[in-house]
């Protein structure tokens, strides 16, 4: 076991250097150091005596996470100020495969934070960013993106998947990357299959261990934490639960609808 391998297993201290308000419910927390990570991998952030949760990095040097105020963990995270400490271990998981070809990246809502490092690693990718409403946007200065809103408050009116469907009528892409609501990723995967384009999606499941032993994040016979969180078309074709089932914290297999309802029980109201 080399030094880096050893380090990623033990929780290490991070200090918050800067906090940026991205929108009414989203903040970026910049840390005091860089973390060596591949786009699509994740770290486990630990707030002692609260909980530990998986996060993508939205920046690498210095490392940062971009987080939506959602449940108990993020509520506590949002209380932290510049100079406060927290802990992390990782990186874990596999990450995206960066093809040096013509790529389109589709992000839904907070999914954009999960593909930020990917976008930076690609050469002139097409980026489509779908949100419910204008006020949910972030990183609009950082990336050149085609914006879609459900309520027509800005950009293309309608779903990001519809926007891509239109683009595919006159543009050719070699790979579709996706991160966002699973229903969106399922639609994108089906679209990719129809057009015979490679697809990579980053999945989300409730996670206990994060290191490939407990089975809490199972999707079909795959573990989101260790076999994923990024899955390719070849994986997705075999994953029966993709787009349909997820496990609750107690392990009960639930429809995605029930899963989201369960997860949103803990959601904090933002205005």
């Amino acid at each position: 076991m080399n030094k880096m391998e050893k380090e990623q297993k033990i929780h290490r201290k991070l200090t918050i250097k800067q906090i940026i308000d991205e929108n009414y419910k989203t903040k970026t927390f910049f840390f005091n150091e860089k973390i060596d990570i591949k786009p699509g991998q994740f770290i486990m952030l630990w707030l002692p005596e609260i909980d530990e949760k998986p996060f993508s990095l939205s920046y690498k040097k210095p490392a940062a996470v971009t987080v939506e105020l959602k449940g108990n963990f993020t509520k506590e995270l949002f209380k932290l100020k510049q100079g406060d400490n927290l802990f992390y271990r990782g990186p874990f998981g596999n990450g995206f495969t960066a093809y040096s070809k013509k790529a389109v990246v589709v992000a839904g809502g907070m999914g954009l934070a999960g593909v930020s490092l990917l976008i930076e690693s690609l050469k002139n990718p097409k980026v489509i960013f779908g949100v419910k409403q204008k006020k949910d946007l972030f990183f609009t200065e950082r990336f050149k993106m085609d914006i879609c809103t459900d309520d027509n408050s800005i950009g293309y009116k309608g779903l990001a998947t519809e926007k891509l469907k239109q683009l595919l009528k006159h543009e050719k892409y070699d790979v579709i990357y996706a991160c966002g609501p699973e229903i969106m990723m399922k639609t994108l995967f089906e679209l990719a299959e129809k057009h015979k384009i490679k697809c990579e999606t980053s999945l989300e499941r409730f996670m206990f261990c994060g290191i490939g032993v407990c089975g809490s994040c199972a999707c079909g016979n795959k573990l989101v934490c260790r076999d994923g969180p990024v899955f390719s078309s070849d994986d997705l074709r075999e994953m029966k639960d993709f787009g349909s089932y997820a496990k609750l914290k107690n392990g009960k297999k639930a429809s995605l609808q029930e899963y989201h309802k369960y997860r949103s029980k803990r959601i904090i109201k933002t205005t």
Partner: protein, 302 residues
């Protein structure tokens, strides 16, 4: 011809490796994946009496010499798992159904419920943190015997295997009490009580603070427990604790195990670890002129 098969109370295993409870066994698909990767048998995550969410994270950490965990026995509860049970019952390879409870009645109720899915083997997780009379079932020989007897009575001819805790003074006498109460085999050991503190956070790393160690750190503890149990019982033993390669497995078998539980090794080497352990066992047997696993069981006692 090299014979890697072994048997546990009449159930034949193509090789002595068994996926341990709590590792991956949350779904029938993952159990099938263990078999596709050459596991001889596979144990499901312990089924509980009612829905239970478990602890907050961190719940599993690698502390450098093994894993420390306190996941807290999350379970949908046996009444919410018919879809999974149905799939499990279709698997042809030996599936071990692990169950837990806080009262003897819980074990009996779960057994009576799952019996319709015709499990061949039930493992009693009596080394979990749920307590009766202020201690684990497996920390008192009378408690361990009572729960074994009650489940055995409810289970007709299903093979019953209590899984014992090493956190006791004399594990062999508890194993003996289970044998007298009708246990068909013994699994030893569950995790060893422990704690790790992060000195920068100045807090225990696990959210639950205390947990149990598995992995390489506990292998000598497990070998000693299996050795002691072997001298005290006639029923077969599944030796579990810290086995990550073929030599470890052979060591456990020489101590008296008829088969070996594989858990944390999945973390260290991935799910392909069953295949590599089996290959390493095979190579060692060829080099040392053994033709069957059965010749090796307990030979360290001779």
């Amino acid at each position: 011809m090299l014979d890697l098969s072994t048997s546990i109370a009449g159930v034949k295993l193509k090789n002595p490796t068994i996926l341990s409870s709590g590792i991956l066994g949350t779904s029938p698909e993952l159990i099938k994946r263990a078999f596709e990767n050459n596991a001889g048998a596979a144990t499901i995550k312990s089924i509980g009496p009612k829905p239970r969410e478990g602890n907050n994270n961190p719940s599993v950490v690698d502390f450098g010499h093994g894993l420390l965990n306190a996941i807290g026995l999350p379970s949908p509860g046996y009444k919410n798992m018919d879809m999974e049970f149905d799939e499990l019952s279709k698997i042809k390879e030996p599936v071990i159904w692990s169950i837990y409870g806080s009262k003897i009645e819980d074990f009996v109720n779960i057994t009576k419920y799952i019996i319709r899915y015709k499990p061949r083997i039930i493992e009693l997780n009596i080394s979990c943190p749920n307590k009766e009379k202020g201690m684990l079932f497996s920390q008192d020989r009378n408690c361990a015997a009572d729960v074994t007897k009650a489940v055995k009575n409810a289970a007709n001819d299903i093979i019953i295997i209590p899984k014992l805790s090493p956190n006791v003074t004399n594990i062999a006498e508890i194993a003996y009490a289970c044998e007298k109460a009708g246990a068909d085999a013994i699994n030893a050991i569950n995790t060893v009580q422990a704690m790790v503190i992060n000195i920068d956070a100045k807090k225990p790393v696990l959210h639950y603070k205390k947990g149990g160690i598995s992995g390489p750190a506990i292998k000598p503890v497990a070998v000693r427990c299996v050795y002691d149990i072997y001298e005290n019982v006639k029923i077969p033993i599944i030796g579990t604790g810290g086995i990550t390669n073929g030599r470890d497995a052979i060591e456990m078998i020489q101590a008296g195990a008829s088969a070996v539980g594989i858990g944390s090794a999945v973390y260290y080497h991935g799910i392909g670890v069953f295949g590599s352990i089996v290959n390493e066992i095979k190579e060692w047997m060829q080099e040392n002129n053994y033709n069957s696993i059965k010749e090796l069981i307990g030979i360290a006692h001779e």
